[in-house]
């Protein structure tokens, strides 16, 4: 009788090589540089595409298996959440304003990332890199869908969730994340990878997802925490692609080092500026707080980023040019952003408020150097005005930075009493910037950034009114016309939390949930 031999299982390494490297071929109908037209113009020199290897060695079959499991878990929770009136169990309806910013400003970026990685996966040579980009492209589409599904139960009960896709292309503050990602997607494939995989995913994304996810759990938001988990489990793979592609470029040719360094300088700063919104969410918008923006920045920005750039020093890479100024900003940016949004909330699709006394004390303890000195007095003044029935609203359009598109509220490094202004003149026109680093980005590629779609300029040029609006009509109210163009439910989506429909409804439903 024959002894049946157990078939020898392939090792992870062998499986990966068979299931990626065997997938490519040399084109014969057309020359390779016509099939892959974007791999050389950025100046990055690649001598051996096969040197890129995914250290997770994830193959497509394993990918589908684990992704399928993650989806089943997630949708079971989303169903349970909706069936059990999960929206009643969050800490406070103020919390949901952070989720409004998320669905308005972050979810559309997931979709942009899906498109960006599909493009990169198509245009790179080297099967290892192409497969990794393909998986990430699918992940990002999954994140878009799961975030919409997980957050949609709130749309049945609360304001500010009903029109995110429309707002993303129009609303002034959403041009910050939108222009960030469009800048990346219109770069070449190598710049895109440095921008999104490395600078955003590897260096900065922990600041968004770790405290955010933990914060959602702490505030009883089962639905969001579960998509957060599910998305985040993909992020480690994305982060790995980020560091591997940087090493790949740096190891392939010494001439790549200065190009990559420039991209790291640029994209670290672009990402850091976008995260101002996250700092504000962490410090002001979570009724139960996990950690302050400053603490998160110290752990994930300074310690972790510091370790990374020490390690990359062997390739001749130094820390990003804006790193020191970012450290200087940790005591200030979340407060400066919240004060700005507080006064601009007639024009925003979420609510703002003055923190409670206990929350002000928490901020004092977390920001001993800056909060009592610069920010508490201003918040107390806003509270007084609100109580007196004269809440401070700003209907003047702010000056925007031409690169990050954030209103010019950031202060000079080392001097929090002085607004930071920079400017450049290009072809006779003057352009304004919030910092040396945004100015440097413009000065390097002015032809790109003179095309920025700046919401304030667009409003002033009359491009943000609905067709048929007549700005010369007597009594014309330009702000009302812009809000109409945004399709904002005035009085429900915007203004202060105090006295809002969200606040009233949540209090009434909570009371009803505890009694018959």
């Amino acid at each position: 009788m024959d002894t049946r031999l157990e078939k020898k299982k392939l090792s992870l390494r062998e499986r990966y090589h068979l299931m990626t490297r065997g997938l490519g071929w040399e084109p014969t109908y057309q020359p390779a540089d016509k099939v892959f037209p974007f791999t050389t113009y950025e100046g990055i020199k690649i001598h051996d595409w096969d040197k890129f290897e995914d250290p997770f060695r994830l193959t497509m079959d394993a990918y589908w298996k684990y992704q399928g499991e993650k989806e089943k878990k997630l949708y079971a929770v989303i169903d349970a959440f909706a069936q059990n009136n999960g929206f009643l169990n969050i800490s406070d309806a103020r919390y949901l304003n952070a989720i409004k910013i998320f669905i308005q400003g972050v979810t559309p970026l997931e979709y942009y990332a899906h498109r960006g990685f599909a493009f990169a996966g198509r245009h790179f040579r080297g099967e290892g890199l192409r497969v990794a980009c393909q998986m990430q492209s699918l992940d990002e589409l999954r994140h878009t869908q799961t975030e919409i599904h997980a957050i949609s139960p709130y749309n049945r009960f609360f304001n500010g969730f009903h029109h995110p896709r429309h707002w993303f292309d129009r609303m002034w503050y959403l041009s910050v994340p939108k222009s960030f990602f469009e800048d990346a997607n219109t770069g070449g494939p190598f710049e895109f990878l440095t921008a999104i995989s490395f600078s955003f995913e590897y260096v900065l994304t922990n600041l968004l997802f770790l405290p955010f996810m933990s914060g959602a759990a702490y505030n009883g938001d089962l639905s969001t925490v579960t998509f957060g988990f599910s998305a985040q489990s993909d992020e480690s793979r994305h982060m790995t692609l980020g560091i591997e592609c940087i090493k790949f470029m740096l190891e392939q040719d010494e001439a790549n080092v200065p190009i990559v360094q420039h991209w790291i300088d640029k994209w670290f700063w672009r990402g850091y500026r976008v995260l101002t919104l996250v700092g504000m969410m962490m410090d002001y918008m979570l009724p139960k707080r996990v950690m302050s923006w400053r603490e998160a920045w110290e752990i994930y920005g300074e310690q972790n980023g510091g370790a990374l750039f020490n390690d990359l020093a062997r390739y001749g890479i130094r820390e990003p040019a804006g790193f020191r100024d970012a450290i200087d900003g940790k005591d200030h940016i979340s407060h400066q952003a919240w004060l700005t949004f507080y006064t601009y909330n007639p024009l925003a699709a979420f609510h703002t408020w003055v923190p409670t006394d206990a929350e002000l004390d928490w901020l004092s303890a977390k920001y001993p150097e800056s909060f009592d000195k610069y920010y508490r007095p201003r918040l107390l003044y806003l509270r007084e005005q609100e109580k007196a029935g004269k809440p401070v609203a700003n209907k003047n359009l702010p000056l925007l930075c031409n690169v990050c598109q954030i209103p010019m509220f950031f202060t000079e490094p080392g001097n929090p009493r002085m607004i930071c202004y920079r400017e450049s003149v290009y072809e006779g026109e003057r352009y304004h910037f919030c910092s040396d680093h945004c100015k440097a980005i413009f000065d390097h590629e002015p032809e790109k950034y003179v095309q920025s779609w700046l919401p304030v300029q667009q409003i002033l040029q009359g491009n943000c009114f609905k067709p048929g609006t007549d700005p010369t009509a007597p009594g014309f109210d330009p702000v009302a016309a812009v809000l109409d163009y945004y399709e904002l439910n005035v009085g429900r989506d915007n203004f202060w939390y105090e006295g809002s429909e969200d606040q009233r409804n949540f209090a009434a439903w909570r009371a009803a949930a505890q009694n018959n």
Partner: protein, 89 residues
């Protein structure tokens, strides 16, 4: 000397992985946050398949950690038996 870290979900499925990391990395420091744990180790962190299997008594494919993983730092090396994070290759 820089730390590397791994962050995992605080779930039943991740528990034996967390236990195995703490056993195999004597310098590991564990931090709990709502719904997650973060483990920091100076320079190098190893996850061994055998250690997880000894805890659960079941065969374990190291790629299953993808289901529980939240974030990590350092360079990654993975084969069938070990998953390693480190600075400096």
């Amino acid at each position: 000397m820089s730390d590397v870290f791994i962050a995992l979900q605080d779930t039943d499925e991740a528990r034996p992985i967390i236990e195995a990391i703490l056993a195999d990395n004597p310098k590991a420091r564990l931090t709990h946050s709502p719904a997650m744990v973060k483990i920091d180790v100076p320079q190098r962190l190893v996850i061994r398949r055998r250690s997880i299997e000894e805890i659960t008594g079941l065969p374990f494919d190291l790629q299953r950690i993808h289901v529980s993983l939240i974030s990590l730092s350092g360079h990654i090396e993975e084969d069938d038996d070990e998953f390693v994070l480190s600075w400096k290759r």
